[in-house]
């Protein structure tokens, strides 16, 4: 008994997707962001076939070769080489794998845990809230990098511990954001109505409240994504994160810092790629938030 006015029946997953896509693609920025991120993902997946060189291969004849448009540049190293003669383009392509994977995992981890804790704190209040918020205040009280360093040191240096450490450092933002949103929505009449209809705690938290609290969280997730890339880089720079010679964008940036004056390309390209990725993810996040918000829908 569904109204079959459109080609796809409402209520189905396909219908929801078609509708979502309609709103998402209406925002040009979101579309550009999506295309950019999709391209990077494809390139990262196809890295062994796309990259011109082995990312770890050092060429002693070619230290700090400038990019191709310089007089000394060659087509062999399109974006030049770094201080130990590794091809920057290849390292960027392989690095996309690490940077995107690490950041995505970090954001996912801290978002899921953060939302859960924030919902508990905002919904139940009382001693549970005090416990959770105080714990988050403790995390916030440390300089984030210092805390991450300490955690990695305890967990033994490596990719996994770096991801966990950075997820912990990002956690308070999600918890506080969720808690604040839940607290402001909790006493609205629609929540009471749902409770009178018989909804239990779990349903009220995850089905009624959470969807109404998502907008700031999506924005925070895209912001966290960029912070995660930079934090991982910082950990790598201090020898606690991604271990060399793994090509990770942040580590590339950090390692090439001392040549900033003499060989700008070694710093510029990783930095540029990080900047663009972060920007595009933010654009995509904006579009995502709008497309998921029923209030933006036109009847």
């Amino acid at each position: 008994m569904s109204t079959s006015t459109t080609a796809v029946a409402p209520g189905t997953f396909r219908y929801q997707f078609v509708e979502f896509w309609g709103y998402f693609s209406a925002s040009r920025g979101a579309l550009v962001g999506l295309i950019f991120i999709a391209t990077i993902l494809v390139v990262a997946l196809l890295a062994p076939w796309v990259a011109p060189h082995d990312p770890a291969l050092q060429n002693r004849e070619a230290f700090l070769v400038p990019p191709v448009w310089h007089a000394e540049g060659t087509w062999r190293y399109i974006l030049g080489t770094d201080a130990v003669g590794r091809d920057i383009l290849s390292r960027l392509i392989y690095g996309a794998r690490y940077s995107l994977f690490i950041s995505a995992m970090v954001v996912l981890l801290s978002m899921v845990i953060g939302i859960f804790l924030g919902l508990l704190a905002g919904y139940f209040r009382g001693w549970l809230e005090t416990l959770i918020t105080r714990a988050m205040d403790v995390v916030l009280a440390f300089p984030s990098l210092l805390l991450a360093l300490g955690l990695v040191a305890v967990l033994s240096p490596g990719l996994t511990s770096a991801m966990i450490a950075i997820a912990v450092v990002q956690l308070p933002y999600f918890v506080r954001l969720t808690r604040a949103a839940v607290m402001s929505e909790k006493d609205r009449e629609y929540v009471i109505a749902s409770r009178l209809a018989g909804a239990g705690h779990t349903r009220l938290m995850f089905n009624t409240l959470l969807p109404n609290c998502m907008a700031p969280l999506i924005v925070q997730a895209t912001l966290s994504f960029s912070t995660a890339i930079l934090d991982i880089a910082a950990l790598g720079f201090l020898g606690m994160g991604v271990q060399p010679p793994t090509p990770e964008w942040g580590a590339m940036l950090a390692n090439a810092r001392e040549f900033m004056g003499s060989a700008y390309w070694a710093v510029t390209f990783p930095g540029l790629v990080i900047l663009l990725t972060v920007l595009m993810i933010n654009l995509m996040g904006d579009g995502l938030r709008d497309a998921l918000d029923p209030k933006m829908k036109r009847s």
Binding site: Y190, R195, K295, S299
Partner: protein, 340 residues
Amino acid sequence: MQSQERQQNSAPRDDAVIHAVNLTRHYHVRTGPFSPPAVVKALNEASFDLYPGQTLAVVGESGCGKSTLARVLTMIEPPTSGQLTINGQRVELKEGQRPPRELRREVQIIFQNPYGSLNPRKTVAAMLEEPLKLNRSDVSAEQRRQKALEMIEKVGLRPEHADRYPHMFSGGQRQRIAIARALMLNPKILVLDEPVSALDLSIQAQVLNLLSDLQDEFGLAYVFISHDLSVVQRIADDVIVMYFGQPVETGPASEVFTRPRHPYTQALFSATPVADPNRRKERVKLKGEPPSPLNPPPGCPFAPRCFMATEECTHGDPPLEAVTPRVKVACIHVEKEGAI
């Protein structure tokens, strides 16, 4: 005479859907870091019976405990003391406890603000189906949808509205959706907390007509909370006038409206505008503000503002006493003078 006896021996007439005896709700309010918490008597000793197909109106100015009564009746909050019997079943609820399912189904509420009472992230159909999903596991998904669509038409909306979101509707339409949602579980009692005060005058009439039709169709009992006396006069069978958390006058609407006895009721009714230019206005004016619930005046809470107040009024709270077989008034002067 019959009604008087009924309320005195506090045994519910067989078919009463709500039987309330001395319902009281107090709140503890922290006034400062070092002072002990103060007690606010938001609702004080409200007693009434409600029968199927009847409308009980609760009127009074803001802060008089109307909404607290709504929260107690819908079992969102338990009463501090007093008995509440819904549909023949005693409600025994502790703080923070959810009412049992069979009771919950009987009472639903319509809120004043139609913009806050609908979940902005859910379609109309999803909202209407939710109560069935949670309480009626015997109803299949298609049946749920079918029932939701039937209810949508019943409240005067069209089936194609089912898959739209709340922000696409006007205030009146939203209130219709809220009514539809409340009726999905076939409740016996609907608590209407100022259901039309947020709506335009023309829409108010439509929604009130809808409510009357639904009452006839389903035999619903309404607790109609309002400050709009012209609306109350139109639909109420019985009236409770509340002041400062307690009922000051109760009785059949016909009697209370033709002859208000309590000075507060008189003042309240005289403040209602009447669309008749020839009628001479004799307004009973009140001085001052309602007293602070943290610092109640001695004796009758209305005494400081009352035009009939005497020194005697400050000694003790006047009890609600019958002045005619069906009307009860809480004022020592009314009894004395018989009729004002």
